[in-house]
Symmetry: C2
Subunit: 574 residues, 2 copies
């Protein structure tokens, strides 16, 4: 392809709002352009990358026997209502209606619909296991789209769905997808680790995310420095040493704490560390007020709380709620609360704490959890750096990551709700046992950029590079340079090497800067200088040094390098 007519203009500077290195380079290299906040167009260069990422995903899905299909973007409301997700997904989805008032969701995911298909197409256990998948646009009404393609409002997702006859089958299918994901990300140059994760809106208990560790990520991951425990903080737990029950701790006594309504103020007022205090959060739910009690040095983990309370978002108590349970804002504590459901975080130790007295400007000393107040023992705290691994007791580190894929084993969560059954070997009808498996294409592409660049531009892994070779004619106005360049382009293309040919009337400086920015693996320069020696220059983007190749050999030598790259997707005629 000739660069002079390429639809997509490189930019010297990224727009000021670009937030991460990958976001800046994605815009500067004309990979994608925003049409509106969180809505992006793939320009031709970026489209080629996205297609290669997609093809790698496809090949690895096909390898495990998955069948490609395609479900629509607009999905009718009724099945969503049967599973209860029409309501629960409302805050994050786009809806529409036809002119007769019939409602549709811009697809968020397709569990409901693939189950309806399975019900119709799969009659007997003999057709199981089955894995189907599609690439389809998803809509997410993100309040805050961010960092280019990392968090958007529309994106293409590969979502796969497995159907099995029983739990053992599901575990096998889940393992097969887990393996496919590991190969998929490795082939596209992403160092993705599998971490335990919350199941969120998907239902079920078992879920993993594939995370690429990078500072630009939104997710926080707990990683054991000793064993292979890895979990999203939304799900991560820690080992808590069992402690002796308290004895000889005096009964609670009041202490005056005028104006000290935060842990920080209490630390200053009483000269004690944060861990000496109890933190009591009052929440409102449709079933009444919930008090969450944690040590003063621990943060509540919102996803854990949401899951525990089975609510889409956390709502803090209002004045009327404080009044109803006898709490005093700023001085609330678990002792003396009435009519509240009390959640005692497992981090609480059997020792004395300073807690709010539910009285203005007053706290209580020597409040012992379990002795002076009771409640349900729950895990709702954030794990933090240095905590003990729940599996081996080793030291946990916390890193940032971008979630590029997720997999869920939800079992019969959807099939029972939708009455999606098959004829089992014993003649009974049984619900399908299933899982779903997602990969975001755009997020993968930008994550590759986030982790493969230098100060001058992108450095594409060969498997997903928009072209294999960036061929630069210098100057393209010179008839001999032009003729030799075009002959080399033709020779390379005959060998199935993909070439972006810079035939523009631009300076060497501009052309080399663009080549570094766009980041195609091999730069080949045909110039008056090199032709004088009957040579062309070859420089890999990832290396500092160039070499001169004899002109006659160049196409063969370069094609051999390209053929030597492992795991290239087979794209057909594109």
């Amino acid at each position: 392809m000739k660069q002079s007519t390429l639809f997509g203009r490189t930019l010297r500077e990224a727009p000021a709002e670009a937030q991460t290195p990958g976001h800046r380079l994605m815009l500067r290299a004309a990979i994608a352009r925003p049409l509106a906040a969180g809505l992006y167009t793939w320009l031709p260069l970026g489209f080629r990358v996205a297609e290669k990422v997609e093809q790698i995903v496809r090949e690895e899905q096909n390898r495990i026997g998955a069948q490609e299909m395609e479900m629509p973007v607009l999905t009718p409301a009724e099945p969503w209502k049967e599973t209860g997700r029409w309501e629960s997904l409302e805050p994050i989805t786009f809806r529409t209606a036809d002119h007769n008032g019939r409602e549709f969701m811009v697809s968020y995911t397709h569990e409901e619909f693939v189950h309806l298909h399975a019900k119709q197409e799969i009659q007997s256990y003999r057709q199981l296991p089955a894995i189907v998948y599609h690439f389809q646009s998803k809509g997410r009404d993100e309040a805050r789209p961010r960092a280019g393609l990392l968090r958007v409002r529309e994106f293409v997702m590969k979502d796969a769905y497995t159907f099995d006859a029983d739990q053992a089958g599901l575990e096998k299918s889940y393992e097969a997808e887990h393996g496919a994901y590991a190969r998929t990300f490795a082939r596209m140059g992403l160092d993705a680790i599998s971490v335990e994760s919350d199941t969120g809106a998907m239902g079920g208990d078992v879920a993993h995310e594939f995370q690429v560790l990078t500072e630009v990520g939104e997710d926080r991951i707990a990683i054991c420095t000793n064993c292979d425990y890895r979990a999203n903080l939304e799900k991560a737990t820690r080992k808590i040493a069992t402690q002796r029950s308290p004895d000889a701790i005096p009964a609670p006594t009041p202490v005056a704490t005028p104006g000290a309504t935060s842990i920080e103020a209490l630390e200053k007022a009483l000269g004690l560390p944060a861990s000496a205090f109890l933190k009591t959060l009052l929440l409102r739910t449709k079933d009444g007020v919930v008090a969450v009690v944690l040590p003063g040095d621990r943060e509540a983990n919102e996803p854990k709380l949401r899951k525990l309370l089975d609510v889409p978002s956390i709502q803090f108590a209002k004045d009327s709620d404080f009044a109803a349970v006898g709490g005093v804002a700023g001085f609330v504590g678990p002792v003396g609360l009435r009519n509240a459901r009390v959640l005692m975080d497992v981090s609480l130790e059997p020792r004395g704490y300073v807690a709010g007295a539910n009285k203005q400007d007053t706290h209580l000393r020597d409040v012992v959890p379990g002795r002076d107040f009771g409640g349900e023992r729950v895990d709702v705290h954030d794990v933090r750096e240095g905590d003990a691994c729940p599996r081996c007791g080793g030291r946990l580190e916390i890193k940032r990551g971008v979630e590029v894929g997720n997999i869920f084993a939800y079992g019969t969560y959807y099939s029972t709700k939708l009455d999606a059954t098959f004829l089992a070997e014993d003649g009974t009808r049984r619900p399908f046992v299933g899982g779903s498996y997602g990969i975001g294409i755009g997020r993968s592409v930008q994550t590759i950029i986030e982790t493969h660049h230098d100060e001058r531009g992108i450095i594409w892994p060969p498997s997903v590079a928009p072209f294999h070779v960036h061929l630069i004619a210098l100057p393209s106005s010179d008839p001999d340079v032009r003729a030799k360049s075009e002959a080399l382009v033709a020779a390379l293309e005959r060998e199935h090497v993909e070439v972006l040919y810079d035939d523009r009337d631009e300076s060497a400086g501009v052309k080399f800067a663009d080549a570094d920015l766009i980041g195609i693996p091999l730069r080949v320069t045909v110039s008056k200088r090199t032709l004088k020696e009957d040579k062309v220059e070859l420089k890999p983007r990832a290396r500092a040094d160039a070499e001169l190749l004899p002109q006659g050999d160049a196409a063969g030598r370069i094609a051999a390098i390209v053929r030597g790259w492992p795991d290239l997707p087979e794209m057909g005629n594109r």
Copy 2:
């Protein structure tokens, strides 16, 4: 692929609501399934066909230098408002809004957005011409989805857009796309003819549709039996012999026509043919009442009227409109109307007609157009079988067709509205001169079925068949048959032959019936009987006769047949 685990069940009978042969076969052969009225899922077999159709489209677009990209499904309202299409497309589109109230359209087409991109990416005439395209889901709120994939509410369209510096450039680009379309449809086995068409919602003056003539089509096409004139009835005109001006026709006189409020009733009442009468339609528009006058034997053509009046839909006059212009319902006529815009169809001859008298139970004889009433001369009638070709005067035939593609040369219609300009060679800024070019993938697939089947099932053209070979093991329970079948499948796949392998535990009758229904070009049977002679049976779907191939040769012979098929799309690794 093994048929035992294929996701997609063939049906002995089509659902009763299936309306056309292609609709019935598409459902029976598990090509696609409805999720709701007009919303379809491609099952794996159908997906393979759709992908091949898409790849043929892609290869022919790439051949003329078009660049693939991808714009989103959700499109922000503002650019639609700038071109006026937010309002005009309202009746036929789906809209949504985010939780802040910002509005989006589920994309209907992408002229607005590709112009915004062109404005940003193309700076100079040196980058022109440019052609870009994408495959993207479109939403259409069709009041009456019909005939399976022929008229749906969501479908993937390939839409291409050309940008040129001037009209001459546009004509060249239009011609290039016209040629690409001809090759595209021919390669997928469709005998599509190019016909002149209305520009509808697209703007501009020049447009063509590619129509496949079949009785199941919704469109009516006028075709000259003498020259190459072909036009959709929405656009078709005819040659009208010039006629002598009237003389010696007496002045209009009333005739009593009690209760005769239709042309049919008048024919009966006065014993005259329909052509003796005038038909006067009163319409309401925002600029007042419009009277359309045609000969009594001609139908008004709604698309022509819509275009002339520049309205999205035709609205008939209400009682108050009749009163305002002095018309009497059932007896309305052009003579004596006040304050109405009168449109005189070009079919009107300069002779006496019987017309409504705008008086209850009364008509007028000897009403001469031009003498007794005036108005604008317009072409708003339906051309019909036997009319004279506007180009050569030959006889026009009317046939039904399915529109599988359309192309529009709208020029600067969008670029002026959106201020999308480039730097011209003379240093001025000029608006892009453009066109757009659509192909519906699903409609193409079903049209292929409509025109390629027999009473037993589909007969796929090889270029778009879901597989090349349907290999049938008989019985698959026999170990030798199974082993030899699997060896042959493996040998064929090594030769890049795509095989659907019927390994199911079913009777020969069921398997052969399914093979005929699914319609893969080559059926290969491996049975105890054929193996006794060390042979396998080969039967093309399109032919009645089978032949026996020596087992050892079979893979090579079959692969040679497949390699001999012209114009197969290069699919890569699918």
